[in-house]
Amino acid sequence: MEPRLKELRFNLYRIRNNPISLIGLGLIIFNIVIALIAPVIVPPNRPNPYKIPKIFSTEPLPPTSEHPFGTSGPSGYYDIFYGVVWGSRMSLRISFTVISAALAIGIIIGTIAGMCGGIIDEVLMRTTDVFFALPGLVLAMAVASVLGRTIMNLMGALIITWWPGFARLIRGEVLKIKQETYVEAARAVGADFFTVMFKHVLPNAIFPVIITASMNLGSIVMAAATLSFLGLGAEPGTAEWGAIISEGRNWMLQGAWWTTFFPGMAIFIYVLGWNLLGDAFRDILDPKLRRTIL
């Protein structure tokens, strides 16, 4: 396994030398750490830690030592600090769940379409187009009104919106890799359809998709926050950044800047971190840019 370790070391070297990626990595690590030690920073609310515990108040309070980020309402006044800290856990949960599921669906459909070609390809791609055309917003509204406003439904709506992009991407890569000489060479030594697909095409086709996926982790949270903000995602009072901003909207004009500032900053840091890291991944993992020999 030595050569793969060497490759890993080379990649880490590239990450280390790329200042943008270091910033991105730093921001992400920061988020992950906060998410991990959330129970330590702020004791969780029982039974559901994602429901922010309510406090007695009639109006939002500015940041004080007791409530470092202030408080907000009116669905029941609560501590924003709690919301932001536990919100980081929630964001990671949402991002990874949605991306994993969308990747899984997209890869399966895209690979089958690309490998089979012909009528199967046509059918699958037209279906993908239909899903592509569904506006995420409308879908989320429909889901929210019919099935209720829960995080699960929010994630479901996001998955349905996200998978077509991956399907198309991997289909394109599969079509490209299928034409490479080494794929034909594999057929010449007797490899059948499935061997070619799993051992030769997929491992080489999957990289651009992974990179796009990692960049999308930030966008997912953005989308979730937007939907919550519009009242379609998590219910207010949930430890979800968008939901907090949604309520804060009411108080902004009255001078209670803290109700939107802190959760907004949280989103910004999270999305920026993933975008920078994703950019760096792309530069690093692009096989053409590596090891330019004269």
Partner: protein, 381 residues
């Protein structure tokens, strides 16, 4: 004494990479005489392309010139020039053609425009003068103003009117029209010189519409447009077929006769060198190991590497066993000490791993870099 067009002295170039410093050129010495075709032969990775690019000073960003000088026409030291002074020489006095014409041509400019570009960059004055002369019969709108602007440009001034004209699209078109006419004429003439049939039509075409051989001719016409003193041809026929290669080489030789410049032909194909070059330099791992007139090199090679190369190529009509040179091309990160060829040489002795041999004139015009042939070592040549 024949004057040298370009003389490269003890050129050493390093490259910085992730894995360390690659010592690519290790003291290259070569002379290109006026009017000759010099072949620079070597295998992939020996540094011959880098040498050509060093003369043109178009090295990659991680290249460092550690040592050496490149003299142009005996007076200008190319490595010491400032970038804009070098730009004056590139394309005008020294030009280069490349292996893959498809990648060297602009994909969305038509062929005529690409040739004109060279004229616009390097022969501005001549274009303006010719345009003015031709405008004597031309009586179009603003003709007097345009004449004034051209005259001003010739004197080196920057006429205010020009700026105004440039801003307004319609006027800009009229302003450039006489110039364009001259440029189109010259480009078409150049296309004719490289034996492209139907130059009027071809000059309107785009590179992807042309075959490999035609594209290479276009590249040659761009390179020769300003009648350079030296043409560096980097593997010009490696990517074309045998029949196209024969035509291209024939063309290059013809043009050399009519233009009178020198050519540095960089290639790994010994057969091409045998047919076209006056003298040959053999390069191995960043240094010249042998230099001689073509006939002498092929019939009386001295350096073991040259002998090895000649023994490895099949020749039509000659039945021979192909002998390969044992071992592998060295790594530039940790090149062998002393003579870089010694690990693969069956004549190697202790001194070969200690000291790098320098190019010595063994007989008139024949230079070899090998310890075995200098005095002090027993052993027959």
């Amino acid at each position: 004494m024949t004057e040298n067009v370009v003389e490269v002295r003890d050129l050493k170039i390093n490259f910085t990479t992730y894995e360390g410093i690659m010592k690519v050129l290790d003291g290259v010495n070569l002379r290109i005489r006026k009017g000759e075709v010099l072949g620079l032969v070597g295998e992939t990775g020996c540094g011959k392309t880098m040498t050509g690019r060093a003369i043109m000073r178009i090295l990659p960003s991680n290249a460092i010139v550690v040592n050496g000088e490149i003299n142009f026409e005996g007076k200008t030291e190319l490595l010491k020039l400032k970038e804009d002074e070098m730009r004056n020489i590139r394309g005008k006095q020294i030009s280069m053609i490349f292996q893959e014409p498809r990648r060297a041509l602009h994909p969305t400019l038509n062929v005529g425009n690409q040739i004109s570009e060279v004229y616009e960059l390097h022969m501005k004055e001549e274009i303006l003068k010719t345009a003015l002369k031709e405008m004597d019969e031309y009586q179009g709108p603003f003709s007097n103003t345009i004449r004034g602007i051209y005259a001003g440009e010739l004197e080196g001034k920057k006429p205010v009117l020009k700026k105004i004209f440039d801003r307004i699209p319609f006027l800009r078109g009229s302003l450039n029209e006489p110039k364009k006419g001259v440029l189109i004429d010259k480009s078409r003439k150049m296309l004719g010189m490289v034996q492209i049939p139907d130059p009027e039509r071809v000059s309107e075409q785009y590179p992807h519409e042309l075959s490999g051989g035609m594209m290479q001719r276009v590249l040659i016409s761009i390179a020769l447009a300003c009648n350079p003193k030296l043409l560096i041809a980097d593997e010009p026929t490696t990517s074309v077929d045998v029949t196209t290669q024969a035509k291209l080489l024939d063309l290059i030789m013809d043009l050399k006769k009519s233009y009178g410049g020198s050519i540095l032909l960089i290639t790994h194909n010994l057969a091409v060198v045998a047919e076209t070059c006056d003298r040959v330099c053999v390069m191995y791992a960043g240094t010249i190991v042998e230099e001689a007139e073509t006939g002498t090199l092929f019939n009386e090679p001295i350096h073991p590497y040259t002998k090895g190369l000649l023994a490895a190529i099949p020749i039509i009509g000659r039945k021979k066993e192909l002998k390969s040179i044992p071992g592998f091309v060295p790594n530039f990160l940790n090149p062998p000490s002393g003579c870089r060829f010694h690990p693969r040489c069956n004549l190697a002795e202790e001194i070969c791993s200690e000291k790098k041999p320098s190019l010595v004139e063994v007989e008139k015009g024949h230079f070899v870099a090998c310890h075995k042939l200098l005095g002090g070592l027993d052993g027959d040549v």
